[in-house]
């Protein structure tokens, strides 16, 4: 079949706003567009910018979880209940929600994209490793406990849980438990080493990638990694696909399409 599908721009009102962690806000809004775990939407704040955001909640009351890192995310995190934003999508290929024993590894705001996948796993036994720089940046620990039988936390500064990064924690968890699938979302360096770890242990994995993105709809090519569109063939790629990517963990592109080392 073709990839054709119909998406339209829709104005939505913020139903609720919640502070999740330092500089991280979840905005919920009523929007009944069909969406699957790991997909993203383009969010337009008129007069400011339009940016891609992973869906952190699915269903009719959807959500995005935004970390304030720039102009657009500052505008988004300042929105209050009742305010309007304009969305289009959902776009992209999300997680293939697996059966069996699953390890989810989320760094930074990565848990935002992973949790809807974990919440849709009916028969899986889920373990979760959440990485943060410090305790105050830790995201979604309580929410993860609702779907995971084992939630572990790592902090770079040792302020909570395992002292180290999420991949080191994942290595510890993988040495005591044999997983059928690892799901990862977070900074690309983390994903790069997590992918290596999975290859070493022979465990299949899926990782959600990020690239600078303009159109979001598979046309412009600004988000291409090794010729694959993060907005269309991604953002979630399988371990086998990542293995063949020369740019994964090594290179991204700037707004002009120029090459940058990661």
């Amino acid at each position: 079949m073709t990839e054709r599908f119909m998406v339209t721009q829709t104005a939505v009102n913020i139903a609720s706003r919640a502070e999740e962690a330092e500089d991280v806000v979840t905005l919920r809004f009523d929007w009944d567009a069909p969406a699957s775990p790991g997909q993203f939407i383009m969010v337009w704040i008129p007069g400011v910018d339009e940016v891609p955001m992973s869906l952190s909640y699915l269903g009719d009351r959807k959500g995005i979880t935004v970390k304030n890192i720039g102009e657009a995310t500052k505008a988004l995190t300042s929105l209050q209940a009742g305010d309007q934003m304009i969305v289009r999508g959902p776009y992209g290929r999300g997680y293939h929600v697996p059966k069996g024993k699953v390890l989810a590894v989320g760094g930074g705001t990565g848990m935002a994209s992973l949790l809807p996948a974990l919440e849709r796993v009916p028969t899986a036994d889920v373990h979760t490793a959440i990485g943060a720089r410090g305790e105050r940046e830790l995201l979604f620990e309580e929410r993860a406990k609702r779907t995971s039988s084992n939630v572990r936390v790592s902090t770079d500064d040792g302020s909570k849980g395992f002292h180290g990064n999420a991949v080191q924690l994942a290595r510890e968890m993988m040495s005591s438990t044999k997983y059928d699938m690892v799901l990862g979302c977070g900074p690309e360096k983390m994903l790069y080493f997590l992918h290596k770890l999975c290859a070493e242990k022979g465990v299949p994995c899926q990782m959600s990638l990020e690239r600078y993105m303009k159109c979001g709809a598979g046309l412009c090519g600004s988000c291409a990694i090794d010729g694959k569109r993060v907005c269309r063939e991604g953002p979630v790629f399988t371990g086998d696909e990542l293995k063949d990517m020369k740019e994964f963990g090594k290179q991204r592109r700037d707004e002009c399409g120029g090459r940058l080392r990661l």
Binding site: T2, P46, L219
Partner: protein, 302 residues
């Protein structure tokens, strides 16, 4: 056996489908992916002298029958593009280097670099409707177009294509001036200048306010332009605008297009759009007992 082979102003292509400029043409890897989809040739993103970010988002509006975009010619600049051309060259099919400039001299020097990078032809972007000082702003004046083409033709040995805008009542005048100046083929059409207003936001969606309309919505305009160009010109015409299946490709070919380009179709159908169109045309030719695609070019004319 039917043959879809095309020789376009000396450029040999396995089939008449080409990737249109501006779609998936910014990186070597994405060009290779389009070759895998079955394209006969690839046109790069339009490249300028210096790196350029393009317009701020929103740069795209999705519509039921197409897209509206105002990317604003983002590109990494000609110096950085050699690497991408080298990568794209591994596809083993002709790469057409698209360039945009603010003067005839700039077009000529960019074209020369593209030729050095291995481009088998040059496409001049004389038609982008949403970048100030470039594209359409020059491409509606027959004298300006003629002087750019003369300068580029003197600078390169490979064939030169001029991509023209439908946003003028002088399309034929511009095309005739281009032909007289020695251009090897005309590419028509670029997007139609357009606007989308969001009634909830009460403002234009695109950050540039104006953009270019593409996709099936503009096909009827494109087919008409190609039909008129075919009547007026002796050089080949390359048709583009809303092609996304074999029927729409054949419309253009019957109107007089020697080859077709596909842009929006890559987004709406996927990279397989090229291969799908080719197999559809092959079946049509078999049913109608045609051996060569050239037998169909311009058949809609009396």
């Amino acid at each position: 056996m039917t043959s879809l082979k095309v020789v376009l102003a000396g450029v040999e292509m396995e089939n008449p489908t080409m990737l249109a400029s501006g779609i998936m043409g910014e990186t070597g890897g994405s060009l290779l992916a389009m070759a895998k989809g079955g394209a006969g040739a690839l046109v790069t993103k339009s490249i300028g002298s210096a790196p350029r970010e393009g317009h701020k988002n929103p740069t795209l509006v999705e519509l039921e029958f197409g897209y509206m975009n105002a990317m604003g010619l983002p590109n990494p600049g000609i110096d950085a593009f050699g690497e991408e051309m080298y990568e794209a060259g591994k596809a083993g099919i002709p790469i057409v280097g698209s360039v945009f400039g603010a003067s005839a001299e700039e077009f000529a020097s960019l074209s020369k670099r593209m030729q050095e990078f291995g481009a088998e032809a040059i496409e001049l972007n004389l038609s982008c409707p949403h970048a100030k000082g470039y594209g359409m702003e020059m491409g509606v004046d027959p004298d300006v177009v003629a002087s750019i083409i003369s300068e580029v033709k003197a600078a390169v040995a490979v064939p030169v294509f001029a991509k023209l805008t439908p946003n003028t009542h002088r399309l034929i005048d511009v095309a005739l001036a281009a032909e007289k100046a020695g251009v090897d083929a005309i590419v028509a059409i670029n997007t139609l200048k357009a606007m989308k207003i969001d009634v909830d936001a009460m403002r234009p969606v695109l950050s540039n306010r104006y953009g270019g309309l593409s996709g099936p919505a503009v096909r009827g305009v494109g087919v008409r332009c190609v039909y008129e160009l075919y009547e007026a010109l002796n050089i080949p015409v390359i048709g583009v605008g809303g092609i996304e299946d074999w029927r729409s490709a054949l419309e253009y070919i019957m109107a007089g297009a020697a080859a077709v380009q596909i842009g929006s179709g890559v987004g709406r159908v996927g990279p397989r759009v090229f291969g799908d169109i080719c197999s559809g045309i092959s079946s049509y030719m078999e049913v109608n007992r045609l051996r060569n695609i050239s037998q169909l070019v311009g058949v809609a004319h009396d």
